[in-house]
Assembly symmetry: C2
Homo-oligomer: 225 residues x 2
DNA sequence: TGAGTTTGATAGTAATACTATTATAACTGT
DNA sequence: ACAGTTATAATAGTATTACTATCAAACTCA
């Protein structure tokens, strides 16, 4: 099977982890470990033990664990954009594209065999629990200048343009889409841990509920007037 | 002037900081320091130096710096709910209440002399930059069981009830309000650091834009059908 | 074969997030 | 005014974290 690979911003890593076995092990195992321990408890030392390597070796791939997290999240956004492209490509109307897009955003994430050595299900849990930590730091501006958030930004831009195509007078297309992208993951977190803050429920139907909720947010807001 | 004080959940602290001068110094100075350094760089050691005390003394008030952050955020939500009460109390229609409520959420925060030793402007910046770190942890469930998030939850519940009063058939009132409360702070962060993700702008008009955006989200969504 | 690169092994450091102990200062009640 | 309690400061110490440095073994490819 021909496996695809994403070309991520080179500032996200010191040495490209996709190119070597050690690099791939770092990615594979860090997804598992961050998912299991949470980002705070995750250390390069623990990771090194798990893959039978050393801290020093991991530092040759990633400057620090924060960069590694940014890399993983960057990978996630690339993957999501790839999936959105896949399901909107054949559609011609912006409204249809948006509908399909919301579906992809809200759907339950499944393992994607197109991409080796990444467990998308665990990575999605990492997104839900850790995304905000990638940019809620004092270095956000210099990180941004290096293009570390281009995955999220390009996705937001692409979807916003469909919104503009439907209603060019709506003044907040980017705000609306970034709100929806973040709300999608927040509501999943709340469903699991702070259920009184949401209504999407704990069962599998929550993905359908989430889709409905995001759809009503999106279309009612842009269709108004 | 008679100063009010909020009764916060007792699990947020080991000894009540509002009761002693040292405690008040801890609060006052930690707001300044977390605002300046960011939560990651903030330590009890640095705080102790600033207030001419010791780490050990601070640990008598707060189990750790994470609890201190949760305390400050808890205080913020109490303050916001108090302000919302203030501006909605005289109104009878739920729609009017919601409108006033959005205004309070979106408005530029100013120093509130009702509450001594808390700089609400700096505290609001802390909310914007650090809120998510209070619950995006592996201990979220036990923290929640101790009631550490009751400030946010009670606010969300109160506002959701007005939504239900307007449209009892809308299936996602809590999801809508938690999304709006979080979007308010996210959009302010994006305006400062990742401006392509928002449209509220960098100038003072951004608070008006934010209010408009949140209003359109809220009312278009609940008024539909 | 041999030069260059990648990795593993080992060591070390400064800072962090605490805990423990003790002495003294400050306040409390009779 | 004095004994008893409590709060605080001072000091010390620990395990862990987030790195950095050095060097030799292994593997790569021209």
């Amino acid at each position: 099977m021909a496996t695809l690979a994403f070309r991520l911003n080179t500032h996200l890593f010191t040495r490209d982890p996709q190119q070597t076995e050690l690099g791939q092990n770092i990615i594979r195992k860090s997804v598992e470990l961050i998912d299991r321990l949470g980002f705070e408890q995750f250390t390069f030392k623990k990771l090194a033990e798990e893959i039978n390597s050393t801290e020093a070796s991991i530092y040759r791939y990633f400057e620090n664990k924060h960069r590694l997290l940014q890399y993983l999240i960057g990978w996630y956004w690339s993957w999501l954009e790839y999936r959105i492209d896949l399901f909107t490509n054949s559609l011609s109307q912006p409204r249809e594209k948006l509908k399909a897009c919301i579906k992809v955003i809200a759907e339950e994430k499944k393992f994607d065999a197109t991409f080796d050595f990444i467990d998308e299900v665990a990575l999605h849990r990492i997104l839900v629990a850790e995304l905000d930590k990638t940019y809620l730091t004092k270095q956000v501006d210099s990180d941004n200048r290096e293009g570390l958030f281009s995955g999220f930004k390009s996705l937001c831009k692409k979807i916003s343009e469909w919104v503009i195509a439907i209603n060019p007078d709506f003044p907040f297309p980017n705000a609306l889409i970034s709100t929806i992208l973040l709300s999608a993951k927040q509501q999943l977190f709340f469903a699991d841990h702070l259920p009184s803050l949401t209504n999407i429920g704990k069962e599998t139907t929550r993905y359908i509920n989430l889709e409905q909720f995001l759809e009503s947010l999106l279309f009612n807001t842009i269709d108004h007037k």
